[in-house]
Symmetry: none
Subunit: 192 residues, 4 copies
DNA sequence: CGTTAAGCGAGACGGTACGTCCTGTCTTAAC
DNA sequence: GTTAAGACAGGACGTACCGTCTCGCTTAACG
């Protein structure tokens, strides 16, 4: 015997997440208020606070929904090719309007331990898992050194992308990404 | 014709910067307000706003003063040794209480383009310059590949440290830092 | 063709009115919300709104039910005696816990013209009608001056009681009520 | 030693009280919000909350300031004449736009014991003191019965006016006030 | 007897106002 | 003449209720 009463209004949920995404993308990180989101989405503030404990959690969901429809893992036949495609995909995301949301999320991470954990486990870890599989396949095929620490390889490949997005000290063009990859790759392959 | 009246009160400035550092270190990133700093430092708010245009600038100064008394560039005789010491130093800073200030600064970076620029040019770039010199010396001595892009080498060495500090997905122990370095280093040395 | 479906649930109605009375009496005027009444009475909010257009109407009914079982008109043989008993009854009500409801009702009166009218016609006028009959009988018996304006006599007798309940500047003890009556009564009797 | 820092801004205070009076008079009791007053008075909400603990206290001050410039006590030579003028003045106030504020205040009285006390002591008691002096003078001159209870006389004279303002069951025209006075007056004069 | 329109407890919804908090500017008395 | 203290205008926050609507269940008159 299921519960009585109205269910969560999914139309309202969609309106809220869409508005959150749109406003953040167009106006940048901190310059969006919950009041605005509520008004713009034609929603009572309480409806937001009922389902999300903080602005960060809301932003998180808005981003997650956007990325969920993710592309299938690449399969070029070589570890190098697969890693390259994955890095380009990540860089492309970081250059899209969603970039503003990613930055916002990282900022929120600092003030809210719960969000930090969520970001780590649900988003960061998820991406890492996929990347890790590609590397492991390369090792198994004998392309890559068998003594690689997968976590470290991940850090070396993706941290530079993240920092460029965060700090903006260098560009994130496809060319720049390739260059990054080519610089580190020799450390991963078996010596001739 | 010298100015009349008291000069900038350096005792007050010190009290402000100390309080900023202490409060941020003890309470974490966002949970410190200008009002609090003023009250805690027994200083009028105006005195803060007179000398710093924003909270971010204040935090920035508080951090800068703390690292100004920096160590001399290492000189172990090898590029590997020097890079290793530099990475360990950065990791140590990121593990100290100042970690909270670093995170705060990055967060402020997002909402304030002026601060972002300052952070890039004065802090990030400064560190890079030092690191870059070490690498260049390695190249000149024939230890490292001459075709290395110094910016990229920097990204590969330090971005993983930054991301570990920001996200906290992996540890930043001396051992872990060594491991990171050893994983990427083969990409930099000349092939046998 | 009579209506289908269940009839009004009288148990729920009773629970609502009881809860309204109890909460208002115990917590005072404004500090009771419809949400609370609904929850406390184990009733859906809609069930309240279905039968009462506003909180004021609900409070009104709660009070009316409480005084409906009113005493029969007094008959002591003299106008003075009858008026005295009526005044004492009113004062007694104003000293009972129902005092809180009476005050609440007057407060609601201000914001809601419909309730103001209802209060005037159904409650205030009702009480006045009874009082008026007593006075008229006194006139008819030759005890009281025939030129009395009944409305004004009513005002003179009961307004002081209401104001003492509302403002609380003087007590409402039986003795005080007698004193009030004795002070004004000479104005009503025929001169010797 | 005296305190440092800025003093209370009397221009802002005036703007707040004026706005409160105007908005309440024009829109009636409950339909005015603190937000509106703040916005309309070009004042931060905090400035209101800094000086008044509640909306009721604010309304109270707005009314008090309005009545402070009160007329001098009447002196017609007879108690009847003086009482008549005083009653007419009160009735006039109750018919003016300030009527809305008086009603609002009484309503607030119910939910806030502190305001109730203030209303009683500062406003109600003040008016009573003046009226009482008039009656006492009448007794001293031998016009009125020496055994009158002044509090009760006050209740008999003014409570009907208050109730007519509150409930609105009868009119408050000058003529009606005279009629009220004439009905009760015989009870106060010495028998022939 | 099954259909079906009410009534029900529960509670999510779009809103409005609240009272608190913080920002960055301005004002005043004290040193 | 700069300082500390702190009042000011402004505006976002998260909470509390409002009155309406929606859900799934129960009840009883109708067909």
């Amino acid at each position: 015997m299921g519960k009585r009463g109205p269910k969560r209004d999914e139309a309202a949920e969609k309106r809220i997440l869409d508005t959150t995404r749109d406003l953040i993308c167009e106006r940048g990180a901190t310059r969006v208020t919950i009041n605005e989101i509520a008004e713009h989405a034609s929603v009572g503030k309480q409806t937001i606070y009922r389902w999300w404990p903080s602005k960060a959690a809301l932003v998180f969901d808005a981003l997650e929904r956007e990325i969920k429809a993710s592309s299938p893992p690449p399969d070029t036949g070589t570890a190098y090719g697969d890693v390259r495609i994955q890095m380009q995909r990540v860089a492309k995301l970081m250059n899209s309007p969603l970039r503003a949301i990613l930055r916002e999320l990282i900022a929120e991470t600092f003030g809210d331990d719960e969000i930090a954990k969520q970001f780590r486990t649900l988003f960061f870890a998820e991406r890492r898992r996929q990347a890790t599989a590609t590397i492991q396949a390369g090792i198994d095929r004998g392309e890559l050194r068998p003594d690689l620490d997968l976590e470290i390889v991940n850090d070396l490949l993706y941290s530079p992308l993240w920092m460029r997005m965060i700090i903006g000290h260098q560009e994130l063009t496809p060319k720049a990404v390739d260059k990054l990859l080519d610089h580190v790759w020799p450390a991963f392959v078996l010596e001739a």
